[in-house]
């Protein structure tokens, strides 16, 4: 469990596909120590008021409640928030917390 001692690393990339759709790609580990990084990226992505925010979670290995809080925060700023390709671990967390209706998945 060597990486337990390492600080979690999170990479966030935002791309504005169309004026309506902004894709936020989240890679690495999203937890209490990295949530702030995503939070500021979401804040920036929401500034031009897109109709939909799509989180690409295909590279996200782990997410805890702090990460969920950021995703839920996005639902208050943008009409539609959807998630793409969450890993089984992330999918499980979302199912456990009953959030799949609020944060629906898009099929690839």
């Amino acid at each position: 469990m060597a990486d337990m001692n390492q600080r979690a690393d999170l990479r966030v990339q935002t791309s504005r596909e169309t004026p309506e759709l902004t894709v936020v790609s989240v890679a690495g580990e999203l937890d209490v120590s990295t949530a702030r990084v995503l939070e500021s990226a979401v804040e920036e992505a929401c500034a031009p008021q897109p109709a939909e925010l799509l989180f690409d979670l295909s590279e996200l290995r782990f997410m805890d409640s702090a990460g969920i809080a950021v995703l839920l925060g996005a639902t208050r700023r943008v009409p539609t928030v959807r998630l793409r390709e969450p890993s089984p671990a992330v999918r499980r967390v979302l199912e456990m917390t009953g959030l799949t209706t609020v944060l629906p998945f898009v099929d690839p």
Binding site: R36, D64, I68, M96
Partner: protein, 575 residues
Amino acid sequence: MESGDAATAHAAGISTAGPDLEQGVEAGPESAAWAEGAAEHARATPRVRVSRAALLTLATGLLITALLSVAALELYDHNETRLLKLRARELSLVLSTAVPTLQTPLASAAELADATGGNAQKFRAFMTPLVGTGRAFTSASLWPAEGSRVAPTVIVGQRPALAGRTGEARKLFAEAKQSGQLVLTELLPGATPRLGYAYSVPGAHGGYVVYAENPLPASRRSQLAESTGFGDLNYAVYLGRSRRRKDLLVTDITHFPITGRQASTVVPFGKGAFTLVVTPARSLGGTFFEDLPWLVAIVGALVSMAAAVLTERVVRRRADAERLAGVLDRVASENRQLYTQQRGIAQTLQHALLPETLPEVAGLRISASYVPAASGIDGGGDWYDVVPCGPSSALLLIGDVSGHGLRAATTMASLRHAALAYASEDSSPASVLSKLSNFVNSGSPDYFATMLCARVDVSEHRISLASAGHLPPLLIADGEARLLEFEPDVAIGVARDWQYSETEVAIPPRAILVAYTDGLVERRGELLDVGLERLRTVALQAPPELDQLVAGLVRDLPGEEHSDDTAIVGIQWRT
């Protein structure tokens, strides 16, 4: 002033960039106060004080300059002396070439006199072209080399000053006769002092001495013409090997004794000698080398001062940077302090809000525990409650507010009290969660909370469960442990007007139900199911006694660096 402003900007930057204290606003004004303090400090420091490093640089630079200048001066001095010696030798060579020009006519005349038996006419005819103003001699005379009478037999030009000075003449002639070389007299006194030269053919047949005289120039002064190539020298020529004033023959030096740089050399002249002393009239090696020491001194001094100014600037910049760093350190340490303080407040609040004692519910054992997050992370918003409702039932509540710190703790407090109020109206779990959700969503919350609400019917061995996105409780009975998984509803604060649903579960005798928050099972980088399975396994292996089970779970399950707080409530049916 400049550094003061910078300090303000940086201090303000730090207070926002530092750890988010949830109530970070409070840190703002204090940071500004620190920055002002720093600015005042900067103003109070006198700016005219020059640093020791700059002074040292200047001193070192000037010392090096002085050494270089002295070295250049020494070099110049050495060079000039060497050149002067060379020039003196050159001049002495030129002087010694005068010997043949004087000796040759005198020797020829001597030969002629010997050959003609001292014929006066022939002597006169030979010497006349050489005697007179502007010619080689002013006086020439023929003298018998031996005999009792020492007097000239023929005189051409002026009467010789030697005539009548019998002793001197006798001595001079003997010397000439013996050496066969041009011999010189002492300076002969008179209106104008004169110098005499004598020559006689050596050996038995040399019967005559030819003697000539020249006056010294007026005041013995004469310039070396610029055209001779010795215009850069002043000189003095002495008769013989002495440098006595009375032996001075000719010079262009005005002040005696001669001081300063000088070179002297002895010029052999016939049987006698001259002493030549030269001094430089100007720099012999050229003006550049003369000016070099000054040039070095001026340039060196300028460079030293520039280096000192540069050093001073560097030193000041470093001092500014250090002062800034000090301010930033202080801000950071105060922030840390505030952070620790707040963490302490949040934890204290959290502990104060959790039930001190658990209620007595007939037929039920109840045990609960709360473990704060490991230090470094703020306290969380986990809570639990067990409320009796009716003679044989109780409501179990456990929740987790997202976020950390003081705000999570206060949010937790308001949620907990609201939940208790709604529970007293209607003990249906779905109703409690729905009302709570409406209460929270009537504002625009920037948090969410997961919650599990279970109504426990002790005698009927049944529970009704409603979950707002909370992790499933664990049921341990008959040597088995299973998670009571069912479709959870959304977390509190996520969706408006959400209707929460209930699930009923039958409970076997003496079963244990454990509800917990995510800190118990979540580990970073691990699937949630792995954590849940670990909980199941550990719970099964634990002693079946409730208090020990709860204590064992909170001791063994959270990871080494658990970054989240953990709440756990267990109930056990006594029958």
